[in-house]
Amino acid sequence: MGSFAEDAERVQARFEAQALEASLEFVRRERGFREYLYDFAVEVIGTHEIRKIQVYWSPSRPEDPVTRMPGVACRRHRNQSPDPIRDLSLCLWYPSDPLKDRWTLDGGLRQLRDLAATHAFCESRCRLGEPWHKREAPRPHPRPQGCRGCPENWRSCP
């Protein structure tokens, strides 16, 4: 059994491995002791947009990344939280999905990038008045309070 530092490095290597393998371009910054902020960008399919994505992640809580997309927020699938880092972060997977469809530590940063790219696409179409194209969790998804992403076009939510 390795030291805490060695374990943290191993976990971090797992988190980043697929991203490196997939040649994902990202910047990693230390926010504090073993707290990291990853910056990268995703292209929004079918638009001119390139959205900045920020992932807050720590090897001490490896299964709990927080993914944010600054800029205009379609709140339909954003989290609400008193924690300013978590508030308006992206809801990217459903815990009751089958394992193959959920985010995993081995998917790591690469999988967060993929999920965020799909999410950014869905938000862009939502702002055009289209339904949420990705499968939604089986529950109502009312228009969240304070959503200003598409005030003119919203028609897919009750």
């Binding site: 991203a19 490196l20 997939a22 040649s23 994902l24 371009e25 990202f26 910047v27 990693r28 910054r29 230390e30 960008a41 292209e43 929004v44 399919i45 079918g46 638009t47 001119h48 947009e49 390139i50 339909r76 699938h77 954003r78 989290n79 609400q80 939280s81 924690d83 978590r86 809801c91 990217l92 997977w93 459903y94 815990p95 999905d97 089958p98 193959k100 469809d101 959920r102 985010w103 998917g107 690469r110 999988q111 993929d114 999920l115 790219a117 799909t118 999410h119 696409f121 869905c122 179409r125 289209e130 949420w132 194209h133 990705k134 499968r135 939604e136 969790a137 529950r139 998804h141 969240p144």
Partner: protein, 365 residues
């Protein structure tokens, strides 16, 4: 604060990815191209049956492999045997006072029209409104499911072989006179000189440059240069195969520098006058516009993502980029709707299949 940047290596440059998308976007569908060539070859076959026909030749963009969508026509011509009594009096180098081409072209027009109707009963051959060619219209649209109806016509030129050299005299029906031309040499230079790899690369860059230049005319402005002028520059410029995006940037810069300095010499010795710029276009204007285009491609070449490169290239390939974006969005919507994991992955450029749900109930996931 510790900061580490990770960048991809060895992958295709973002601008190159987009340039290839644009090439696909402007490509003439194979079925449409085949139909146009079939019609052109039929006209050539008929022209070859004329007693004075000496040698037929395909010409223009289809023959040069530089055609873009939408393809409206295919060009070709027939060189006439001037030993034939009927045609001996025509041409500027005929003995005595050489006759102009009007009657000469009319005899061929009638010959082609009557015979082409055996295959295409509604076909017409006309010189009305034409400066040089006989326009053969087939009036028989062909429906390709994916591309809709197409009815390509053929522009056919009858030319007199020059007394000396490889060129031909081609008709100027506006002035009833003859101008020197060398379409066979042009086609040969474009399709036979240089290695196959270089020819293909040159043709692909030319297709991009032609589309960019013609776009100006489509937008209500003026194309600063004719297609053949660009081709002549391409024959001078390219001697190696690079990436398309680098090649296009360099080629447009070269064309800009050259046209600023002088009008372009035709590669044929038979054509002594330089290639003219379109009416109302000065060398300075042409140079400036081509430099702008080169700069746009240059900015795209500096981008780190395809979308950023697309945004730069939109300045010269706007409709193509819009079309590409719309199609990508449609594909993605379809893939998400079908929960097609591979399709979603392709849409976002991932090697990993994609699944899962979005969810939100107002609390932290």
């Amino acid at each position: 604060m510790d900061s580490v940047a990770e960048r991809p290596s060895g992958s295709k440059a973002p601008a190159e990815i987009v340039i290839e998308e644009i090439l696909d976007e402007i490509a003439v569908p194979k079925d449409v191209l085949q139909e146009a060539k079939k019609r052109r070859n039929l006209v050539l076959e008929i022209a070859g049956q004329h007693p004075a026909g000496r040698k037929g030749f395909p010409s223009g963009s289809v023959a040069h492999g530089t055609e873009n969508k939408p393809l409206e026509d295919a060009d070709c011509g027939e060189m006439i045997d001037r030993r034939f009594e009927e045609f001996r009096a025509y041409g500027p180098d005929a003995s005595g006072v050489g006759k102009g081409p009007t009657a000469f072209v009319e005899s061929f027009r009638a010959f082609i029209e009557s015979r082409i109707r055996q295959t295409y009963p509604k076909a017409t051959a006309t010189t009305l409104g034409q400066k040089r060619s006989i326009k053969v219209e087939f009036n028989e649209p062909v429906d390709f499911d994916e591309w809709g109806e197409v009815d390509p016509y053929v522009d056919f030129i009858v030319g007199l072989s020059m007394a000396e050299g490889s060129g031909i005299w081609i008709p100027n029906l506006e002035t009833d006179s003859w101008d020197p031309g060398d379409p066979m040499l042009h086609t040969s230079l474009m399709t036979e000189r240089d290695s196959r790899a270089l020819r293909i690369f040159r043709a692909r860059v030319l297709r991009l440059a032609k589309r960019a230049v013609k776009r100006d005319a489509a937008g209500g402005g003026v194309a600063v240069m004719c297609s053949w002028n660009l081709s002549a520059f391409a024959l001078e410029f390219f001697d190696e195969v690079t990436s398309l995006s680098i090649g296009l940037e360099g080629f447009l810069a070269y064309a800009s520098e050259q046209i600023a300095a002088h009008l372009t010499e035709d590669p044929s010795d038979a054509i002594t006058d330089p290639i003219r710029l379109p009416e109302g276009v000065s060398q300075e204007q042409a140079s400036a516009r081509l430099a702008e285009m080169s700069a746009a491609v240059g900015r795209a070449n500096e981008q780190y993502s395809p979308q950023a490169a697309r945004n730069e290239l939109e300045a010269i390939f706007g409709p193509e980029i819009k079309e590409i974006n719309e199609r990508a969005a449609s594909r993605m919507k379809r893939a998400l709707g079908r929960e097609d994991a591979a399709g979603i992955a392709a849409g976002i450029g991932s090697a990993y299949p994609q699944g899962g749900s979005s969810w939100s109930d107002g609390i932290v996931c």
